[in-house]
Subunit: 196 residues, 6 copies
């Protein structure tokens, strides 16, 4: 796809609230992750998407605590996005996962086969649940919740795992549909001691 | 599941903005669809969910026109939710589909096998695309867009089809995860000439 | 498919025994379910099909008792026919299921996701077995029979479950092959207190 | 399964009509194929099963001609029964296929991979259609019938292919469910120039 | 495929070491199994392929003992090659399996459905493990090794099962790719008391 | 898996020829890739494995030229190993792919979704063929070869694609079976301008 079907809009063409948020992200990250522009063609969807994202991924902004760590959340995203063959999310969230977990190899590991990854038993159980929500939510049953409880996950934590998986299932489908490509910057983030 | 793992909250316990919207829906529909309560346990997620819903399902509220009719949109939801074995969405959105399309049999038809449903060739193409986004988004390619164009769907329409499918894929997973049940009222809506 | 590939024959063109049975069904139901006409193009197959149907679905006509109720049997048909995406059987047998079980919502529930349906644990076990026969009969093993026995099903009952599933697997494939459509009357049967 | 769950009944315990047919088959084949005994525990089902079998597999007994040869029919059975992993039908009908086609290797070939079998292009198209009815009947569409027409198959021939596939899909599920084993005699039939 | 895409080379055109081995096999078996010629178009691959084959299938030539019998090994090949729909390997190794196990029916049984085959519980466990390596190696976990240990298989035996399965997975893909056909002689070997 | 089921042998315990090769690789790469040790527990298998590897991956050592470049070959390995969820091969061969192609992002791209990767149309066709050999070799047909020919691939090139895919299918299954982990060094190779 040489000419993109859904070209990224120019930052200056965006509504003010979206433009402000994009510039804030750019300031912080040093670049604008493509998802911020790709969804901006539709401002109402953009606002809902990032509101949902923040409610799940930064629960403290929603006045909520969570039994999942930041690293747990990104690990769920990376693992289930790989199951959905979503290049954007695996590369972008794999980068953030490496940073939060301070483990430069973990993203590649969970993306290829979470059963072989060097993660805790608790994280393995978390990912098993996430993968069932991702691929076979219709069969979720009590036994799946019980397998989480063994590792200390509450039903609220289960909701977090499920909701993050479900939300990125949406994101994965849109990214694959729209041909969204990861920014080059993501590929190397968290892999080397110091990334400028 | 006799005792629900995630019981529906009492309306009076909800934040004011959510309570107001719930009462408005109740006024209009005669009952509160369970999804409005099920998600309300988490207000920030509730607000994002329904903002996203409205941006896609009532594009005019987002200042947008769409090449899809109201009936088209509900048909996408009913068809893909059946592929995801989501009881809540098939029953609730099947009801709305019957009303919009004024075809009391169409929801059952697309839910069981959209290829055998009495719908237009244009709607058949729309559902074929939606099903690919639902089940195999990673393989979407130019030929899929071209199959839509034959029936007059633009790339913006394709975005609508994909986004509705992706959004309800999220909803389907959450409903299956949380054991969300459809309100009894939905089952009969749009099946008989006059339902009070 | 505007012009049907396999048009339904005229009742008056049918052999006498078939015509008599068709008229009897019409008298009782108020209409002729399309399957009675669709198969009648081939009288020998028609006779075998309905003889088999009756041997399984009305065992008392075969001088046999069964541990399954009438409702159980229709529930198996509706559930497995949905797994086979057979519009005719889901709609027609869903109607009869609603009537026998006196539960206007149960057919839609088992058709979309039997794991979420409001049925007994015994019926859930019955449907789990039926779904395995439907989708993975090659893997049936002792443990599957034992799961039935927990709920009081004998090996003869297991035969009933398997045979009903297998027979309607035949029916589902023929209906999908031939494009058999359900009569409009079925869609509403058993949903409202009184259907003429 | 050392002690069979569904032991074969003694011939002398069978109803007279069934006993007569069983003895006739024994006379002709030199042994009683197990399916004749396995289904005989349920006489009404036995009668319907074999009436259906004969209507499809010996259409001349139903006063019907068919565009399929005897060998074609057994080839459909062997191929689709292998897809359903049914030991009884692959071995028993593979034997008859070898005899009718006078090709001692053809049964093994179509059972393992019909795309690699030494059969005509016409038979290849026939088996492609049968496999779609067997594994994905819900997706049958006009293009599938057209692929048959290229090789001279009429819609009536398509019905034959579909009905044989669907009927043996029933048989495959019952054989797998009941643990029906092929008679030792079948394994060698049609493989060597002269089998007594 | 009338004209083969990859015709078998003439024996006399082969490098001396390969020619010598081919003639040795011909002397012993009475014919040259096609795999010896099919791979010989590429001598380096031929040498590696048969060295690997011998290391696994005749471990004593590698100075190794194994907990698997000759019959066990051929049973793994026949079963997993059928799962991969490889005509060459099912027919050729099914022949050798019949001879080693002295059971003329066992190859057909495991090829169609190893769960229904007349084999020992130990062999059933061995084949369950092999099938998981064949179809779902990414999910192999400790429980799978433990299921083998119940029947006395060591981790070294597990390696044998896995390696044979993996090696013939290579062979199956190449045979299907290249359209390799079994020699006619294989079909009957081990089926009758005496093959000339 | 804290204690590895199949611990890597000490280099000094290896047969001389294997030890020499391992030391040569260590000299060249700066470390010993784990596959060289993992397979070395079985010297005969080790020798065959690497002979096969070299015959396919460095055809010039086998006196053969190939229409595939070094980068093409590693791209096939990375893509199909990801389809097989093989952590070792994705990470190790992804590293080599980055180096050969001089594209630090290409390995992550093809591993997640080769359809979205920034590769040539010719490479896309090559990977489509490889994925069919990997996942559905039984259905390979003339049309698949023709799709390669459009891009200039000969039948010999097709053999290369198939054989590399098949060989690494073996490797993937063994690595998943044995829990083989990639050396830490691989993760970063080819990602940054200069890796010592």
């Amino acid at each position: 796809m040489n000419t993109p079907r859904f070209p990224l809009p120019d930052i200056n063409s965006l509504p003010n609230d979206i433009k402000a948020k994009v510039l804030e992200v750019q300031e912080k990250a040093g670049f604008v992750p493509n998802v911020f522009l790709a969804f901006a063609r539709r401002p109402a969807e953009w606002r809902a998407f990032f509101a949902y994202h923040d409610a799940l991924m930064t629960p403290e902004t929603a006045g909520r605590t969570s039994g999942l760590t930041k690293g747990d959340r990104e690990m769920i995203v990376t693992t289930t996005s790989a199951a959905n063959n979503c290049l954007y999310c695996v590369v972008a969230h794999g980068a953030i996962l490496r940073i939060y977990e301070k483990k430069p190899q973990v993203a590649d590991q969970v993306a290829v086969n979470h059963r072989k990854a060097e993660i805790s038993d608790r994280q393995r159980a978390m990912l098993d649940f996430a993968m069932k929500v991702c691929l076979d939510a219709q069969s979720i049953e009590d036994a799946d919740f019980e397998a989480l409880q063994v590792h200390g996950f509450s039903d609220e934590d289960a909701w977090d795992i499920a909701a993050i998986t479900a939300f990125f299932g949406l994101s994965n489908r849109m990214a694959n549909f729209a041909g969204m490509m990861p920014n080059p910057e993501f590929y190397l983030m968290g892999r080397v001691p110091k990334v400028k």
